[in-house]
Amino acid sequence: MLQNVGFIGIILGIIGRFWPVWLALIVLLTLSFMFRRRLGLYGHLISSGVGLAGVIIVGFWLFTALFAGIVAPFGPLEQIVVMKHALPGSIEPATGIPFYLGGDKLARDVFSRMIYGSRIVLAIAPAATAISLMVGCLLGLPAGYFSGRIDALLSFIANLVLAFPVILLFYLLVTPGIMDTPVPYAMAGFFFIFPILFLCALFYTGYSKQKAKLITLLGLTLIIGGYIYIGLVFDRDPLNLIHIEPNELNIFVAVAFASSPGVFRIVRGLTLDIKTREYINAALTRGEHPWYIMLWEILPNARGPLIVDTCLRIGYTTILLGTLGFFGLGMSSESPDWGTAIKDGSQFLRLYAWPALVPAIALMSFVLGLNLLADSLREQSLRD
């Protein structure tokens, strides 16, 4: 029989393990409150209860992912045979450190896996959202601004993607077989070009008068962006610094693909609304280039709803990632990400609840934090 630290021991132990996270949160919140008046939207955000709760939860997970190595007592794949299906709080005999939230079916520490899982989720979800944001902006702006044929075509394509139930899309796009075909690489090639295009268009239209600045910015974008692009899409990074596993690339692209049309629709709608404003007419009279108007006049004025949507979308992307893990698509079977852990745990759910319950609550709390943040942001932007 394994020794157990008991309920109070578990609670105190877990709170103790998170010490770097608490420290970081205290520093963040103290600084935020000190400079509240100078922080604009963020300052208003932490003044409201809901917003503060959102900031704390999201910050908590952010710092957990950062300090995962310190917080987690065991490795995500470390198996200690005696701890198979161990009860929460059971003490591991060799090190004397308890498995705070029990052991799973392969005798790994559920708590440590949940901590390491946050790393995967917090790496992929915001990045995939960022890519889909740029795709949505770069396609949604001209669709709304020019209307007509471009709009009809792009909207039709967006509706095509939206008409797919997400799960079917994933079963078609994220299968082991698809790695042998060029499809994921073609899609990655398509999606990863957008950040480069976006930045180039932004700098080109914005700094066309300042030649020196324009050339440095464009050069930097092309060199750094191109380098990352070659590393990610072709896996041919000459220095071997940037590398992504083919299955991760596949997941990333599938998630970005699934959430881009949503961004497109929102950006298009906002553009349709904003382009009728006075200051757009003023820019037109000045003879500005259409892309300058789109990127430097419309986009900054659409930022309020876009920030809210981005918050919600990171949550949605997290849910999508969890769905992929839950169906065992794309992720390797021993990956500690929350979706895969929920799938593994649900096998023996009726006998051992904790291996599934812990990542489930982790995922829910992170998405809840983002939703609270979004809700509070929306309220703030309505007040202005």
């Binding site: 095509l160 997400v166 079917l168 079963y171 796009l173 077989g177 499809v183 769905t323 599934a356 609550i361």
Partner: protein, 345 residues
């Protein structure tokens, strides 16, 4: 109105065509065909055997010809055994016509399921019926709950009731099915022992309160939050409009204003949202059926995808896309019909 309807229908048919092409392309990717051939030629086949099996059964024909056959606008050629000259069907558990014939979706033939060793049309209606039943109960519980929460929250914007209900609906939108399913079955099945943690008996013995509550609850909870928030926004907007103030100033009681004047107008926007919930429900159904072992459409989709069952996966893809498009159409028409401002123009 007729012109609007015709236009919408035209777009829908075009979308359906494009999507069926996409589904057909992805399901018939080379690795999938190879796996199918390996499976059908008893594992130890050489590269040549696989190739000849694929050629003989028409999988090496032009992509569009194969698509046409599947849809049923190109004649399907019977498969002839090169040695005996006899006609053999592609899979031994399904018969196929011995003469070239149109035999595709349009003729009602969905092909042959290799996972269940029977015709797809023998399994699909059964699965759809089971899922339809689940959806019916979900809608029956989800919609009224969500509307009541939304109306109560939006009635007096900013009140304590509004705050509480809003937090509740935000929490529910943060809980995907695979999370709420796990949490509910731990609470209600393992700890309280009130309900069945599995809906497997629902397929064999019919549904009852014990085996069906958890799946319905799990599926409804995500949608409730979303619809409630839409209803709340719509209700809050209506409550701040001029005619509501007029009605209040006329001396009508608060509840009379809510019930007679506000409700009808506030429920137009949520209607669209409810119809657009179907695509999400369809994904949710797949998750819930996997968690609670309920044999419906989602179960078929998962088995088809994991067993490389090409014809069944094609059929499932087509059905789910059709359901989504149909609900979009209904939502468009319903919105135009409910909203007099659009109906007139």
């Amino acid at each position: 109105m007729l012109k609007f309807l015709a236009r919408r229908l035209g777009i829908m048919v075009l979308t359906m065509f494009c999507l069926s092409l996409v589904v057909f392309f992805f399901v018939n990717l080379e690795p999938n065909l190879k796996r199918l051939a390996i499976f059908q030629t008893q594992q130890r086949a050489t590269e040549q055997d696989i190739e000849s099996w694929l050629t003989r059964n028409g999988y090496r024909d032009n992509f569009f010809v194969r698509y046409g056959r599947w849809i049923g606008v190109v004649k399907q050629q019977p498969v002839v055994d090169p040695e005996t000259g006899a006609v053999v069907p592609r899979f031994r558990f399904c018969d196929e016509p011995a003469v070239p014939a149109y035999n595709g979706i349009l003729q009602g033939n969905f092909g042959c399921s290799t996972a269940f060793k029977t015709k797809v049309s023998n399994r699909l209606p059964q699965g759809l019926r089971a899922t339809g039943l689940l959806m019916f109960w979900v809608m029956l519980t989800m919609v009224p709950t969500a509307l009541v929460i939304g109306v109560l929250a939006g009635m007096r914007e900013g009140s304590r009731l509004d705050r509480g209900l809003s937090i509740l609906s935000i929490t529910s939108t943060a809980t995907p099915e695979y999370v709420s399913g796990i949490i509910f079955s731990v609470i209600f099945a393992t700890w309280l022992k009130l309900l069945n943690g599995s809906a497997a008996t629902a397929t064999s013995e019919g549904i009852n309160f014990y085996n069906f509550t958890l799946p319905v609850m799990t599926l409804a909870i995500y949608g409730v939050g979303y619809i409630a928030r839409m209803t709340r926004a719509s209700m809050a907007e209506v409550m701040s409009s001029q005619y509501i103030r007029t009605a209040r100033l006329k001396g009508l009681s608060f509840w009379q204003v809510v019930m007679k004047h506000a409700l009808r107008n506030a429920l137009i926007a949520p209607f669209t949202v409810i119809m657009l919930q179907f695509p999400w429900l369809l994904s949710g159904v797949v998750v819930v059926e996997a968690i609670f072992r309920y044999q419906g459409f989602g179960f078929l989709l998962v088995s088809a995808a994991s067993n490389n069952d090409i014809d069944l996966l094609l059929a499932c893809g087509l059905v789910s896309v059709a359901v989504v498009l149909l609900t979009q159409l209904i939502s468009d028409i319903g919105y135009a019909w409910l909203n007099p401002r659009i109906r007139m123009s």
